[in-house]
Symmetry: C2
Subunit: 297 residues, 2 copies
C-alpha cells in the first residue's frame, strides 16, 4: 500500500496544521485521495461534523478511500484525522482564506485580523530558533548596558523594549534617530549590548549600526524578519518569521511578533536575577499602580 512505510516518520513529526500538510502533500496523493483532500480543503469546518460515509459522499469516493486518505497524510485513522483537523482549525479559517475583501464589514475585518494575527504568532512560535533565543538571553543577562535601535515600526518595538528592561536593573536606551544611533553605536564598548531591530534587515544605516557597535567590542543581537544581511553582522540573530504578504490591507504583524519576543527575553532575563531584585521590581510595579490611581505620572 502507498505511504505505509512513511507512517512512523510522519507520526513523530511536529503534528501541526493539517491544512498545511494536506496542501503540501496533495500533489503526491492518489487520484481518489486527492478528491478527498479537495473537499477537506474546500470546507474543513464541514468535515469536522461529518462521518466517514458523509465525507465519502461529498468526495464522490468510497468509504475506505477516505480512510486511506487519512492514513496517507499520517493519521492513525479517521477519528484521529478529525481531531488533528479540529486543532488546526481552532484559529478559525486558515490564514490563506482570510484575505480581506473590500466588501467586508467591520465585524468581518475584526475577525480576520484577529485570526491572522494569531495564526501568524503561531507560525512565528514554531519557527523561532531556540538556540539563538537562549544565547540572546545569556548575553542580555550579563549586559552592563543595552541600547535598542530601530526605525519606524521597529522603533516602536525598540521603545517598548527600552521601557521593559530597565525594570531588571540594566540601564537601557532606545535610539530612533539616525544620527543619534550612529553616535551611540560608536561610543559602545565591551560589555555593552546593541540590540538592533529591523524587520527587513536590509536598511543600510541599521546594518552600519550593527557593524560599528560590533567593531567597538559590543555584543550585537538582531531581531529581524528573515535571514537578512543584518544577521551576518550580529553575534545572535533572532529571526521572527511571519506570514506577512504583500496585500496592502494586511496589517503589519511583524511588530507584534517582535513584541512577544521582547516579552520572552525580558521575562527570561528577569528570571535570572537574584530574588532580592525581583522583590524590588515587584515594589516598583506596586508603586506605579498606586500612582496611577491617585495622581498622574
Amino acid at each position: 500500500m502507498h505511504g505505509e512505510a512513511d507512517d512512523n516518520e510522519r507520526e513523530t513529526r511536529s503534528g501541526r496544521n493539517m491544512i498545511e500538510i494536506i496542501r503540501t502533500m496533495r500533489a503526491e496523493l492518489r487520484k481518489s485521495d486527492r478528491k478527498v483532500a479537495d473537499v477537506v480543503l474546500k470546507d474543513p469546518q464541514r468535515i469536522l461534523n461529518a462521518t466517514v460515509g458523509e465525507t465519502a459522499t461529498l468526495a464522490e469516493v468510497s468509504q475506505p478511500t477516505v480512510l486511506r486518505f487519512a492514513m496517507a497524510i499520517g493519521c492513525r485513522g479517521f477519528q484521529d484525522f478529525k481531531i488533528r483537523l479540529a486543532q488546526s482549525l481552532a484559529f478559525g479559517t486558515p490564514a490563506t482564506h482570510s484575505v480581506l475583501l473590500d466588501t467586508d464589514d467591520p465585524e468581518t475585518v475584526a475577525e480576520k485580523i484577529f485570526e491572522y494575527t494569531m495564526t501568524s504568532l503561531d507560525w512565528a512560535r514554531s519557527h523561532l530558533d531556540r538556540a539563538a533565543l537562549r544565547k540572546a538571553i545569556d548575553i542580555l543577562a550579563q549586559a552592563r548596558t543595552i541600547e535598542f535601535f530601530g526605525f519606524g515600526a521597529s522603533g516602536i518595538v525598540a521603545r517598548d523594549a527600552q521601557q521593559k528592561f530597565p525594570l531588571f536593573g540594566v540601564p537601557c536606551g532606545a535610539q530612533l534617530d539616525s544620527h543619534q544611533q550612529i553616535m551611540i553605536a560608536s561610543m559602545m564598548k565591551q560589555g555593552d549590548v546593541a540590540f538592533v531591530i529591523s524587520n527587513t534587515g536590509t536598511t543600510r544605516s541599521i546594518i552600519e549600526i550593527a557593524r560599528v557597535a560590533r567593531a567597538n567590542g559590543a555584543a550585537v543581537i538582531c531581531l529581524t524578519g528573515s535571514d537578512s544581511p543584518l544577521a551576518s553582522y550580529s553575534d545572535v540573530a533572532l529571526i521572527v518569521e511571519t506570514l506577512e504578504n504583500t496585500n496592502m490591507y494586511t496589517p503589519t504583524i511583524s511588530r507584534i511578533a517582535a513584541l512577544v519576543v521582547i516579552d520572552i527575553l525580558s521575562t527570561s532575563v528577569a528570571m535570572r536575577r537574584p530574588l532580592e531584585d525581583q522583590a524590588r521590581i515587584h515594589n516598583m510595579k506596586r508603586q506605579l499602580s498606586d500612582i496611577r490611581k491617585v495622581q498622574p505620572i
Copy 2:
C-alpha cells in the same frame, strides 16, 4: 433529565473554549459528571485520543455518564465534545496552566508566553464590543484630525497608531507628555477626534484629557482594559479585555491586544477611503520599501 431545556441555548453560544466552560460549570454538575469533568481538566490531551469506554474507566463511572456529561456541558454528543475540546486545546495547555515557574528554561518560557499571548488575544476577540468598534470606525473615517493620547505602555500604542493613520490622509498626532497632552486637548474642536488610550482607565490626567477634549466639541474614543471611569467621559469606549493577572512574570498583554485593535481600526478606515486614496497609499508603501533597500531614511 438535567439541563435538557438549556441545550438549545447552549448550542447557539459562541462555542469557544471547552476548558473554560467545563471549569465554570463544574460546580453545578452532577456528582458523577464532575468526576468526568475532573479527568478532562486534569489531562485534556489524553481524552482526545480516548473512546467513551476509556474515558468512563478513567473517571470510574459508566459509559452513559460520560455521554450525559457531554450533553450537560452543551455538546451534541461525545464526538462533538472531542472536536470542541480539540479546538480549545489548539493553543496548547490553557492559560491557567501556563503559569511561569522559576525553574522554567528559556524554551518553556517562550512556549508559555506565546501561548498566553494567543489565548489572551482569543479572549479579547470574543469579548470585543462590535457595536462600539463600528461606531469608532464611523467617527474616525470622518475625522479632520486625530490625536492619540497615552502614557507608558499605552504611549507605545499611541505612537504606533500615529504612525499608521496618517497613511490614510488624516493628519494625526501622538501626545505622550502630560503637559503637551493638556495643551493639545484644550485646543481641539468639533471635527477633531481624541483617541485616548489607557489600560487601567483610571489615571487621573488621562481622564482629564478626555473631559477637556469633549468639552471643546471633539469626539472622544477611548481604548481601555475594563469598563473604567475613562469610558464614561468618552463617546465610544473600546474595551479590550485580557487575561492579565497579577503574577509579576506575566508580561503585559494589553498593549498587544490594543495594537491589534489599532490594526482593525486603521484597516477599516482605509477601506472606507475612495480607491484613488488607496492607490496613493500603495505608492507610498512601495516608495518606502525602495528607500529601505537603498538608502537610510
